[in-house]
């Protein structure tokens, strides 16, 4: 089947900035399109806006059914009327990241020099900070001088940290969830497996698969399967699947499949219908490049010097991809500059994915933090 077709024709709400965007790598994108969704109403003085930053394979469809998959929004448990991020009270924006494949400028956008074909693997290397600069353009487009809060999990949490470091005067409260100030060697290693799987797919055609009318589905699916394991925990896998077989009740060695195998294959095959392989390469690389302290001679605290932002750091006890120690390191760096920081570790056996799932303690923590911040911001 032609997944390129499936990915290609959906129209996303977006705004285009004709002056483009200067990137960390030194290149300048001729034009910048930021696709986004918004929920709720911006108040008269523009003080009730919350920006949500999505994770590696997330997108702007936070709180509504997805136009390609028809599935509920990825954070519908958290964002909506009367939800912890209450759209009756707040104006919520979520943008597809730079380098993504849901309408924002990325490898599927027309090439700057050869507009008759997409960028593909020639799309410039982008950073988490570049993603944030693109989001800033959108925020300014809305006439918002200061965001009430920037909130995100995983790679979204990296963007939140980059917001706090780059534009502290534009952020009242920051909530990096299950995040880290740098991508660890282990995490880079897992990403590299995914990238190699994509590159090894015979349908990859050195990134020019669109020209052949195919997509490297096998490679992208394997990348997703590997990554998906890192989002879970041993306990969660055991609880969900154990050693149960898909069809048989006893192991007969006759091609029996474990439930966990078919689950992973389903995760892989459904992913390829909503994600572009070159975007996956671009965004995983952006995560790998992220090291907030590196720009400050290895001193993370210097990234937050004099910050007036109210921070909430949240980690999950069974998350081994972005473990609690990483959040604690951020908390300590914030202590170094006497920043206002709340930090909780939520007990959960669901691994990294816990931030997307039904975790009542997390949701109550987020709600309480935002309510407290609204009081300090004198928000009605």
């Amino acid at each position: 089947m032609d997944s390129g077709q499936t990915l290609g024709e959906t129209l996303h709400q977006s705004v285009t900035f004709e002056d483009g965007l200067a990137l960390d790598c030194g290149r300048h994108l001729a034009s910048l399109t930021v696709a986004y969704r918004s929920y709720g109403t911006l108040n008269a003085d523009g003080s009730n806006a919350i920006l949500i930053c999505h994770a590696l394979t997330g997108d702007q469809y936070v709180a509504e059914s997805h136009p390609l998959t028809g599935k509920p929004g990825w954070w519908e448990a958290v964002v909506g009327p009367a939800k912890p991020i209450d759209t009756n009270r707040f104006f919520v924006i979520c943008a597809n990241v730079l380098g993504g494949c849901m309408g924002s400028t990325g490898p599927r956008s027309p090439h700057d020099e050869r507009p008759y074909e997409p960028w593909g693997t020639e799309f410039p290397a982008v950073t988490i900070q570049d993603m944030v600069r693109a989001q800033k353009r959108l925020v300014e487009h809305f006439g918002i001088a200061k965001l009430f809060a920037v909130i995100g999990g995983s790679m979204g949490g990296m963007q939140v940290l980059a917001w706090a470091a780059l534009y502290p005067q534009m952020v009242f409260a920051a909530v990096p969830v299950a995040a880290a100030a740098y991508h660890s060697a282990q995490n880079i290693a897992f990403h590299e497996i995914g990238r190699q799987a994509i590159a090894a797919d015979p349908f990859f055609y050195a990134g020019r698969y669109w020209a052949e009318g195919v997509t490297p589905e096998r490679g992208l699916a394997v990348a997703r399967m590997t990554a998906h394991i890192t989002y879970l925990s041993e306990a969660a896998l055991t609880r969900k699947f154990g050693r149960r077989l898909q069809t048989a009740t006893d192991l007969t060695m006759l091609g029996d499949r474990f439930e966990v195998e078919s689950y992973l294959q389903h995760q892989g095959s459904s992913f390829v219908h909503r994600f572009d392989a070159n975007s996956y390469l671009t965004i995983t690389r952006a995560m790998d490049l992220f090291d907030l302290a590196a720009e400050h001679d290895g001193n993370l605290a210097a990234a937050f010097g004099g910050s007036k932002i109210r921070f909430l750091l949240v980690s999950f006890s069974s998350d081994w991809l972005f473990p609690t120690a990483q959040s604690r390191a951020i908390a300590r760096a914030l202590n170094h500059v006497a920043a206002n920081v709340s930090f909780v570790e939520i007990p959960s056996d669901k691994g990294h994915d816990a931030f997307l799932l039904d975790e009542p303690d997390f949701h109550r923590t987020l709600r309480g933090f935002l309510t407290g911040c609204a009081e300090h911001a004198a928000l009605p």
Partner: protein
Amino acid sequence: MNDAAPVQYVAKNMRVDLRLIAGMVAEKTRVLDIGCGDGTLIDHLFRTKQCDARGIEIDMAEVTRAVIHGLPVMQGDADSDLANYPDAAFDYVILSRTLQAVERPREVLRQMLRIGTHAIVSFPNFGHWSVRLQLLLRGRMPMTAAWHRMWYETPNIHPCTIEDFFDLCRQDGYRVEQWLAADEAGASTPWRRFPALANLFGEQGLFLLRKA
């Protein structure tokens, strides 16, 4: 005594001295409350004195409760985490009924007066007459309202008396700006100007310190 109950610091839920502590804090100041529990004191300081009050608490369930109430509290440990803060980041650093439970009370005090211009410390007084009497008459570790756990499971590994604390302040060069002895109900007792009497009759000591 219920053996299954989790070990907690003595009188974590007894907020008898919080009113007295709040009385020592000036309005619109920066405050760090170490061992803040569910954040009752920092909430009080924000609401009644417009303080920029924050907390550190070791028990994650208490931290979560505090953050759910919108209070800026982080999980952390008095023994290890104070070193992360810059000098003079706060006007007051508060340690309420926790000094006796930390591993290195002297170092914790030193850190408090490094990161804050004032330290406010309260602790249950091991010199109280009932403690002395129980040890004298029964020859056993005392059990009182403040010292209510068996010796083998108490988290209070560094008990001291009011006189002991005065000694440490002298030794380490801390000026005692205010002090008082209070009973368990939190009422300031009438022996406040006489350390030896306070040491005998005060159930807890409360000190406002700064570097000399």
